[in-house]
């Protein structure tokens, strides 16, 4: 299976020129993670495919790539979920309703929803990695009857770090979806699972030979997840991961995101694992 190509056009005529978007709503998700809802122009809305990202520009501070975490069918709000880790994302954390942010995009490849038609789907997310997968989950659920089993496995550090907690609870309550959450450690009030996300894979109910796996999280988490999926018998061709590297132009010009022969900004961020497995285990690039 190959990655579906990015069929979406950018909404801006000059792909290097950020467009001003107003912050409509700020939601604090965890102690360091927040969701911004931005309002695109009335006329165009904002079209994107699950897995794609935007370059977000905090004026006067800098620009960072952030995946889109909202529902692709709702074009009237553009949603991004970000963890505040450094200069730009910490400045972004301070934005309030009415503040303006520069946006260019959407860029990059998408999750292989089309390839998953008729198959089981397993989604494995680690930490903030659930954010880029959420649009894929929305899309899968909007056409639920077209897929076999849908299993979501989510791992994070502690119960307080669980992202989209309410939504996960709603998904878990559905009878046509399997949602399993595990944390690295918890205090004794926690009634869920403790252990790394990879430990959920051996028991997850999916048919490995007819499954498309979508994996997103830190590289180290993805590496062990892929190994565990392979041990279960999922063919390498059917495993997709989303890679993160620093971006500058995001359109394949500057070489900043070059990863071996690939540019993560335009050949990724979603890659079939089979295409990049030799790069994935290489120590120096």
């Amino acid at each position: 299976m190959a990655t579906e190509s990015n069929s979406m056009n950018t909404i801006v005529p000059n792909p290097m020129l950020p467009q001003p978007f107003a912050v409509q709503r700020v939601r604090r998700e965890t102690h360091d993670t927040f969701t911004l809802e931005l309002s695109p122009s009335e006329k165009h809305g904002f079209k994107f495919s699950p897995g794609q990202f935007n370059m977000l520009y905090v004026f006067g501070i800098g620009e960072v790539p952030i995946s889109i975490s909202g529902d692709p069918t709702r074009q009237k709000t553009l949603v991004h979920t970000t963890r505040a880790v450094g200069t730009v994302t910490k400045a972004m954390y301070k934005l309030k309703r009415g503040d303006v942010l520069g946006v260019r995009g959407p860029y990059g490849t998408q999750w292989p929803i089309g390839n998953a038609l008729g198959n089981d789907v397993i989604i494995v997310a680690g930490g903030i990695g659930l954010a880029p997968l959420r649009p894929a989950i929305y899309q899968l659920l909007s056409q639920r009857e077209k897929f076999g089993k849908i299993v979501i496995l989510y791992g994070t550090r502690t119960p307080d770090d669980i992202l989209f907690r309410k939504e996960l609870e709603q998904w878990r309550a559905r009878f046509d979806l399997e949602v399993h959450i595990t944390v690295d450690r918890a205090m004794s009030g926690w009634r869920g699972s403790v252990g790394v996300v990879t430990t959920l894979i051996p028991k997850a109910p999916f048919d490995p030979l007819n499954t498309v796996a979508m994996v997103c999280g830190p590289e180290i988490m993805m590496r062990y997840t892929v190994t565990e999926l392979q041990k279960r018998g999922v063919p390498t061709n059917d495993i997709y991961i989303s890679m993160e590297r620093n971006m500058k132009c995001a359109i394949g010009l500057c070489g900043h995101c070059q990863w071996g022969t690939e540019f993560i900004c335009k050949d990724g961020p979603v890659f079939p694992f089979s295409e990049i497995k030799s790069l994935f285990v290489r120590r120096e690039l």
Binding site: V85, G126, G127, G129, G155, T156, R157, D161, T182, D184, R185, A186, M187, S188, W190, R191, G192, S193, V194, G195, V196, V197, T198, T199, K203, G217, P218, I220, M221, Y224
Partner: protein, 153 residues
Amino acid sequence: MENLENIVSEHPFLKGLDPQYIQLVSGCASNVRFEAGQYLFREDEEANWFYIIRQGKVAVEAYAAERGAVIIDTVEEGDVLGWSWLIPPYNWHFDARAIELTRAIALDGKCLRNKCEHDHNLGYELLKRFAHIIEQRLEATRIRLLDLYGNGK
């Protein structure tokens, strides 16, 4: 007892064990049930059992003076809990507490240790199975130490 023997022989942990050994192991087995909140064992107590969890969920906890009880692992249906019965001085290293109603098969470690001393083939078969579990837990612990969800900094 026949019922228990069936359950023991069907369980993935003991599957494939020679029927004569299944019978021996089943002789050390009993059905147990723990209510939510009940401890299966406490740190430092003598470890004379291990458990094959049939239903429910058990938290393995360590007590840290400043933080209270921290859950470091959970085991559930299909998992095996406890190997301290196999390794001297046969004391539990952690607390194990049922998070929800848990049904399990308890295997008497003292009884099994005796049987293994008399029949090293049985001992080797059991050791191979426990080595696999110990390896899985060690691997999971190592992965966790890598700070799987952060950037490791």
